[in-house]
Symmetry: C2
Subunit: 695 residues, 2 copies
């Protein structure tokens, strides 16, 4: 029913070896090289063809930033290997509010990862199959729905199938870069299809000139999205976790730099002219109708030949890795939700492991948000990119700033070698400074291009999370044990609610009798004379040895007469606990629920408002309820990147039962002990049933 048990020594086998960890965590950052160079060059082209000469410098700045960020996250992984990432670092070092800012940034980020990756994936599909161009939005929505369906169904991210596209993408793009460069060295440089298009550059003021370079840099920074993924997934790595995670991070960074630099270089060599609006390209036929092909498609077609097999391979692997990147968000979103829930900033339900229903809600919310934003932006990569990078750099900056605080604290506490700490501190300080500057640049250059939306949504999320936290704090206070509380119910009475004399009713009666209450009676609320008469006759003929009490209900309501009766009963015998037995149907099909009147549930709701009442549900399984079994074995999103079960709860030693007056409980526990190491008995002190427990 719950799968084979995993002993502690087998847990290691569940963890990710580096060869799977790399594709799982790197599909997001690596796939961003599919759109980053394109967006970078596109912005430069706004200033005219001459501006492309600045491209190497802007790209170099992005590469430097990437190196700094990778170095910074190497430190973060070492200091916080628990997988909390920027959120944990910020909240631990900069306080709750910084943590919540990071959390809201990340939530926005997951939505944008899905939207941008799917949009870019569709763009690359259309570049290979131009006939699909009119279906751009439909395709994007389709892929979002497909991803949601796959994740609702449950799929293990660590299966080999997930590793293939990433490796294929890296390999094929790498080969393309090498072939392109070799051809250039041999004097046969590739020429892009858009090489012949001219662009009319505007005369720019010096400020506009600087702003344009900064905008190009901002767009190029989209290559950095997803770098933080590994820091969230450290618990999923094999031992030595930190070392493995760090080397995977460095490897990922190296690959990203090679691909980014290679693609940018090739694009410049092949004279790819990718414009924001096709009609800006002088000589472009049908500029309003026919979309330009993605930069990667133009390079592939110039290097390998248009519509060659290798061209299609490049496009297919690019689209695949982009959809895989979108899928990672479907894994990351519930994971972040569970971390937030554990800290009390999101509904507690989100932290429940293995409850498919809860992850389903997360998957549906993420899919709905991504679908709406794709619709609004008509699946345009260029439009969506504007909203993307803000969240990433908010979390980078606060994460790195938190790390600086962390190292300063370590220094002050005198933990570790001062020189090592100073080294780490300086790396993170540079990281914080650079990502902070980039955040300012990105905000300035993108605010009016759509990024303002992010600045509206983030505070809303922030406020919601804070409100949830305050609510939990109040409830916690309310249910806290205080010295003035005493419990001590003395008497005990049981009521079995009887509707008609059917098997479920007899079962409830049987259970109530078996439970040996101090006193017991059956209660029938009469809403129909005939039925009541029939019940009384059957009760007598079956010779049931429990008194049956009939309550009249002129208003045909069952709950309130019962409540009234219980109240009067309690008035006569103060301090009494009344247990009400309710038979309830358990059904199999969802539609069967519509056909049962949930009387038990509605009566339960009314009884729950009464003091001194416990409601005992006696389930009756209808034949169709067999269907409910076995619906639980599918993996939940984020299971692999969470890397659980990592910390086996094995420290609990078995303590012997010291006394065993509570006969059967301890007997059972003793009987279980040799077989089941999961059971531990704490202090079985005899229960004096007559005397209520006192503090």
């Amino acid at each position: 029913m719950i799968g084979d048990k995993l002993p502690s020594d087998q847990l290691e086998g569940q963890l990710l070896p580096k060869r799977y960890a790399l594709p799982i965590f790197a599909s997001d950052p690596l796939s961003s090289v599919a759109y980053a160079p394109q967006e970078l060059l596109m912005i430069l082209l706004l200033g005219g063809l001459a501006f492309l000469s600045f491209a190497p410098w802007v790209a170099a700045a992005v590469v430097v930033l990437l190196i700094v960020v990778v170095a910074s996250y190497r430190q973060l992984i070492k200091a916080y290997p628990s997988g909390g990432g920027d959120y944990e670092v910020a909240s631990k070092n900069l306080g709750e509010k910084a943590g919540l800012v990071v959390a809201s940034a990340l939530l926005v980020d997951y939505v944008m990862t899905v939207a941008v990756s799917v949009a870019s994936g569709v763009d690359n599909i259309i570049s290979a199959l131009p006939g699909l161009a009119p279906l751009r939005v439909e395709l994007a929505i389709f892929f979002v729905i497909l991803l949601a369906a796959v994740n609702l169904r449950g799929v293990r991210e660590s299966s080999k199938a997930f590793a293939v596209p990433t490796y294929l993408f890296v390999a094929s793009v790498f080969i393309m870069v090498v072939v392109g460069l070799v051809r250039t060295a041999l004097g046969d440089a590739p020429v892009a299809e858009s090489a012949g298009y001219e662009v009319q550059g505007e005369q720019l003021t010096q400020a506009a000139f600087v702003l344009l370079l900064l905008r190009a840099f901002s767009s190029g920074c989209s290559a950095l999205t997803g770098v933080e993924a590994i820091s969230n997934g450290v618990p999923a790595f094999r031992r030595p976790k930190i070392r493995n995670a760090q080397s995977t991070l460095v490897l990922m960074g190296g690959i990203a730099i090679v691909l980014f630099a290679g693609l940018t270089t090739l694009a410049l060599i092949a004279d790819v002219h990718y414009a924001e609006r096709t009609c800006d390209l002088i000589g472009y036929a049908n500029c309003g109708d026919v979309p330009q092909r993605s930069l990667i498609a133009q390079i592939a077609s110039s290097v390998f030949g248009n519509n060659s097999i290798l061209f299609f391979v490049i496009q297919a692997t690019t689209a695949a890795v982009l959809l895989l990147a979108a899928n990672t968000a479907f894994n990351g979103f519930p994971l972040l939700g569970s971390v937030l829930a554990k800290d009390g900033y999101a509904p507690k339900a989100l932290s429940t492991r293995g409850d498919r229903l809860i992850y389903s809600n997360g998957v549906l919310i993420l899919a709905a948000c991504a679908a709406v934003i794709l619709l609004v932006y008509q699946a345009s990569v260029t439009g969506l990119i504007q909203l993307y990078i803000i969240g990433v750099f908010v979390s980078f900056t606060l994460g790195q700033t938190g790390m600086v605080r962390h190292w300063l604290r370590e220094l002050r506490a005198g933990r570790g070698k001062a020189s090592t700490i100073w080294g780490a501190l300086s790396i993170n300080a540079v990281g914080a400074l650079m990502t902070g500057s980039v955040l300012i640049v990105v905000t300035i250059t993108k605010f009016t291009h759509g990024a303002w939306i992010v600045f509206v949504v983030m505070p809303i999320l922030y406020t919601l999370m804070l409100g949830v936290n305050r609510y939990y704090r109040d409830v916690e206070k309310e249910v806290e044990i205080d010295p003035h509380v005493t419990f001590g119910s003395v008497h005990d009475h049981a009521i079995v609610l009887v509707g008609r004399l059917q098997k479920p009713t007899l079962k409830a009666l049987d259970y109530a009798i078996a439970a040996r209450h101090e006193s017991l009676e059956a209660v029938h609320v009469s809403v129909d004379d005939e039925a009541t008469d029939k019940l009384e006759a059957e009760w007598r003929s079956m010779n049931i040895k429990v008194p049956l009490c009939v309550l009249r209900s002129p208003y045909r309501d069952i709950g309130w007469p019962l409540v009234k009766y219980i109240r009067k009963h309690q008035e006569h015998s103060g301090g009494e606990v009344v247990t009400v037995y309710l038979p309830a149907f358990i059904v199999g099909h969802w539609w069967e629920r519509l056909l049962h009147n949930h009387k038990a549930r509605r009566i339960q709701q009314k009884l729950a408002l009464q003091h001194g009442v416990a409601i005992a549900i006696v389930p009756w399984l209808l034949d169709s309820s067999d269907l409910i079994y076995g619906r639980r074995s599918r993996p939940v999103p984020g299971q692999d990147r969470r890397g659980e079960p990592v910390r086996p709860i094995s420290r609990t030693p078995l303590r012997p039962a010291r006394e065993d007056a509570t006969r059967s409980a301890v007997a059972t526990a003793n009987a279980l002990r040799p077989k089941d190491p999961d059971v531990e008995i704490v202090k079985p002190i005899p229960v004096n049933k007559k005397q209520p427990r006192k503090k």
Copy 2:
């Protein structure tokens, strides 16, 4: 909390005097004269102006039919005064299937009553305020939403406010007819604004000629809709119920005939030319854009002067009575649902009195269907009328046929005076024959004009209801007590599920201790080492005299380790009932539900699938749960026309308790007896707790 108790002798005061019964039940049939003459004349006008000379004959046929139907229903009320109406008559006399056909026809009918009445109401508002013409559909949807909101909120139909519009409508239309006829007699006949428009009649074949007359008759028959309402509401009348209901029916029929005949006559005198398409009217300016005014508005403006105060009074009362008629459907729909549910053809939940939630669903479904159909038909009365009358005449015909069967049976059984029965029989036979013929005529003339939709929807409803019934039959069979079933649980064990040591947990422990189970233990499922350590320490420091058993859960799931533990426990002590105590939060705001993880509910769901397990919910009321109280005193839709509580359950005599071994139950019952006549104790035989009950 549940309102003052109503002793039996006060029940009569809750019932409807005739002066309220008339407006409540007659707003639907009387309001139909607002559109019936208009639709009748409109169809005739399709044949050209000359065809209007047939109008008196067609109208006379409608009046005759109305008289026959009223006479038939007088018989039906006498024979079936329980309020089941056509549905009851058809199912009792013609069998289940005929009953279900009537039921599906009536369900369709309620939707159409809302749609047609609202559309006609809006039409009359626009006739008075032509500036609102572009908002026709929006206004219609608005009124549907308004009606739904009013009924969701809860409103007593029997309040005086509901009687006013009907009486005003009858009075003002009557005055208008009298004034119009007096003016005509004085030689100053009113002239409608459309009197000058010519209509180009087509050359018709003889068959087309007859068909047109029949179509006009069919449309005029919409005056009969709602006549059956009184037969459904007999229980709500004051005594003598049958006599009062019959005289109200006759009064209503008389008023309807006067208004229908008066309006038709005045329309012919004033030469109202109302066309299906305005562009058919030769001389109509802007025929595509400006809608024609309703027939009643044209008469009012010709009799009282355009935009005179009395003109606005007529339009306002017409619109009000039409909206009131739509409101009656919101009362009738849940009523029919509860009757169907009682017979097992609709989800049982619908028969629960006083549960606002259930009526809310009915109100929402009705509103949604009406809104959709208003949207599709763009709130056109002429379009909607085509779908309306089918359902009405299906139920008329089957109801009257059932009555014929009923009388034949009475004759055969020799009950009552043969001559009286023969009289009643002949009335109903004529009714059945005439309504049956009209049904055929209506079907033939309207099928291609949209009525086919009704013939698609009705079989679907029919099949659904039959399927529901078969499902209930199977379940009934499944839970039926059979001689082979024996219950006899011997041992009893209780488990209190402990998460953290908070007040709700202590309360659950307290209740479990008070319930004096044979054995008792606390179980904690450990998903977090720290929390478990803390719990153990607190458990010891509080010196709780119940053994605590800790289960390990490497997968962080609480339900399954508990289920596994219980199963092993049961293996060791066969035939044992395990009661699991779960503390549960009760909250006040709906949004608070999102913030609690419903652990109790989810664990309950898992435990419910185990054999031999009862789940005892121990509610903990959070402060906010105070809000839940007092949400129940509003009237539910259909309360007044249902006329309950009519049959007070008063026959149950108090039988003395013969034995009282079950101490407190009987003691309480005795204590309650002098005060509370609603409590009756049946055969309290001593419960031998050690020995399980046997059959």
